[in-house]
Symmetry: C2
């Protein structure tokens, strides 16, 4: 049963409508999962989380929905070096949950960090402005990741 009270109230509905996308149960469910999850989910992770409540939402739809969400800038898509792509709700660089990643190249563990974010973002803004002008490039997003060995993997070697 659709929650009618939410119709038109959810922050992302306008964004959807404005671009000619329809608001569907699948999309609501997937966005719901993404906003509850606080960690980088793969398409399959999302599929599995959505399945118990909505068993008729297929993996294909999850992929398609994620494509749309990424396209709209509502979701970020990451590659952490294992095969599968990971998805994460975008709060925007100014958003409260904005963070960068620290990735262990050995065990693929991912640490989100928010330290130093302010300084980084300030510099990035300057850089973005400079690059935009020089290359006539409309920058919409950035990716910063540090790679290395986490404490556990470092001790093993």
């Amino acid at each position: 049963m659709r929650n009618k009270d939410c119709r038109g109230h959810l922050w992302w509905h306008g964004r959807f409508r404005g671009c000619g996308y329809r608001i569907t149960l699948a999309r609501e469910a997937i966005l719901e999962v993404l906003s509850r999850a606080n960690q980088h989910l793969s398409a399959e992770d999302i599929y599995i989380k959505v399945h118990p409540m909505y068993p008729n939402i297929g993996l294909t739809t999850v992929y398609r929905t994620l494509d749309v969400l990424v396209d709209l800038g509502l979701v970020f898509k990451f590659d952490f070096g294992d095969k599968r792509a990971r998805y994460e709700l975008a709060e925007g660089p100014k958003g409260a949950h904005h963070h960068h990643h620290l990735i262990c190249t050995n065990c693929k563990r991912v640490i989100d960090y928010t330290d130093f974010i302010d300084e980084e973002v300030e510099l990035l803004n300057q850089t973005e402005k400079g690059l935009s002008k020089k290359y006539n490039f409309m920058i919409t997003n950035h990716l910063i990741q540090f790679y290395g060995l986490c404490d556990k993997c470092n001790n093993k070697k």
Copy 2:
């Protein structure tokens, strides 16, 4: 015929031997291609460039060699959003050719930029130090990419 004069003279031989890797014709050829190429090659690109001279080096070997090179830190592996991975000789953050990437999310064009690198690298070094200490993480590399629309794609829309 192996070039005997180079045996032991090339900068990377020691690195290889030290880790128990053998020095083979295939590896020399692939590194040669990588050091000539000044742009992000895919595994297949490399295979094709190596093939005329050494037709018996297979794509599988290219993949395996690249894995080794990435593991040794001699080569960086990138994901620009099209399906295939790209490889590039690592000169290290202090290296002369160090650059970051500006990626068009529409046409997948990649622009290397070296502007602002100095300021960025300085901040990154500080950040790395802080992160290393806080998370007891041994940082070996970083990735910075800006995403957006290049001039051509921006005008079209």
